[in-house]
């Protein structure tokens, strides 16, 4: 009984450490707190169990979810800089993205990768969108993470534009 519980707790700790998507991480954290409170309960520390269950699996996850909902930067990494997408405000790609971020109250952060010397920094950053130009059909490919909640909405916005192709990738594939 105790061994199963210990195993489960360690299992969830390892899952938490390896999980990259924040929302799922919060859920795992709540489950972990629940298991910890069961452990406290089995050791007859009822008060601590109650505090743990109230704080660890209800209060803190809610806090984290609110904080997650408040991520306000939409980080775009662009590998193209031409007439379609540039730093100028009148380029059509920039306009599209600005319309999108304005409608969700986000701040648009654009990085052009060939300006950046430290490419490793991008691995640390939470990049939302990568723009590359396809050599095959000449379209601009918008790459988004599958875990991002916004990818459906951006896809719907970009659907009618013939110059753009939209791709959704898994978390690990995004840094080619």
């Amino acid at each position: 009984m105790y061994l199963i519980l210990y195993g489960l707790i360690i299992f969830f700790i390892i899952i938490m450490l390896r999980e990259k998507e924040s929302l799922r991480l919060i859920i795992y954290f709540a489950v972990f707190s629940l298991l910890m409170s069961v452990l406290y309960f089995l050791y007859h520390a009822y008060d601590v169990a109650l505090a743990e269950i109230a704080i660890g699996s209800a209060l803190l996850p809610l806090f984290f979810i609110i904080a997650l909902g408040k991520q306000k930067n939409f980080v775009v990494v662009s590998r193209v800089e031409d007439g379609f997408f540039s730093e100028k405000e009148d380029s059509p790609g920039f306009k599209l993205l600005e319309r999108f971020t304005n409608s969700f109250n986000l701040t648009l952060d654009i990085f052009f990768e060939h300006h950046m010397h430290i490419k490793g920094a991008f691995r640390e950053r939470n990049v939302d969108l990568i723009i590359v130009k396809s050599h095959r059909d000449g379209k601009y490919v918008f790459i988004m993470k599958k875990s991002s909640v916004l990818h459906h909405k951006l896809q719907r916005l970009l659907l009618e534009d013939p110059r753009i192709r939209f791709e959704v990738v898994e978390e690990d594939e995004i840094y080619d």
Binding site: Y46, D47, A49, L50, A51, A54, I55, A58, L59, L62, F63, I66, A67, K70, K72, N102, S103, F104, N105, T107
Partner: protein, 233 residues
Amino acid sequence: MIKKLMLLLMFGFIFLYALTATAPLADSFPETSIGETVIHRGYDETASKNLVAAILLDYRLFDSIFEAGILLISAAGVLYMSRSSGFSKPFPRAKEAAVPKDSDSILAVSRILYPFMLLFGFYIIVFGDLSPGGGFQGGVILATARLISVYIPEKASENTDPLNRLEKILFLCLLSLGLISLFTRGAPFTNFFSGSVDPEFRRLFLVLLNLLIGLKVSSGLTIIFIRFIKEGK
């Protein structure tokens, strides 16, 4: 300059006070185990069947009051920080911000759950000296219930000022309730009934204390929640 000097003086005073206050404690530390003493004499001395509550609300009431004070200070800090950021918005946003509508099922479940969570929170608070729980745990449950009520449109009020005032008043009540025993029994931060009174009466002190702590904790956490949700909007 004056502010810094005052801060330095305050820190120096607290440091010196702590040094002088804790030095005799080390000598007077009892040889026998405290746990045994609490188990054997806890109910007779504090009238609390839950011995954790006996320690928190009677033997170590001084510490508990300052734990409550920590929450007061952190809520004040959150209020201060979120207010100062509310004045200047960094970028002008588009006028029609798309606010996603809450789903109806969340609304319905919140409506059903809200009164039960309140009831459970108050149960945990009031029966804190008989069963596991107490002011802090019940207060957290009340705060979670309040968070759920954010999803209920007609209940959502975003004004934190009355809550803040309530929290301060409750903290003062807590301090004064702890100090009543100074006049009735000659020792601060303990039960104001003497040990010869029936335990059923002495319970009143614990229930009152639990209620005050619970309401204080819930209002403090609710302030932090509401500021957190409102921040940046």
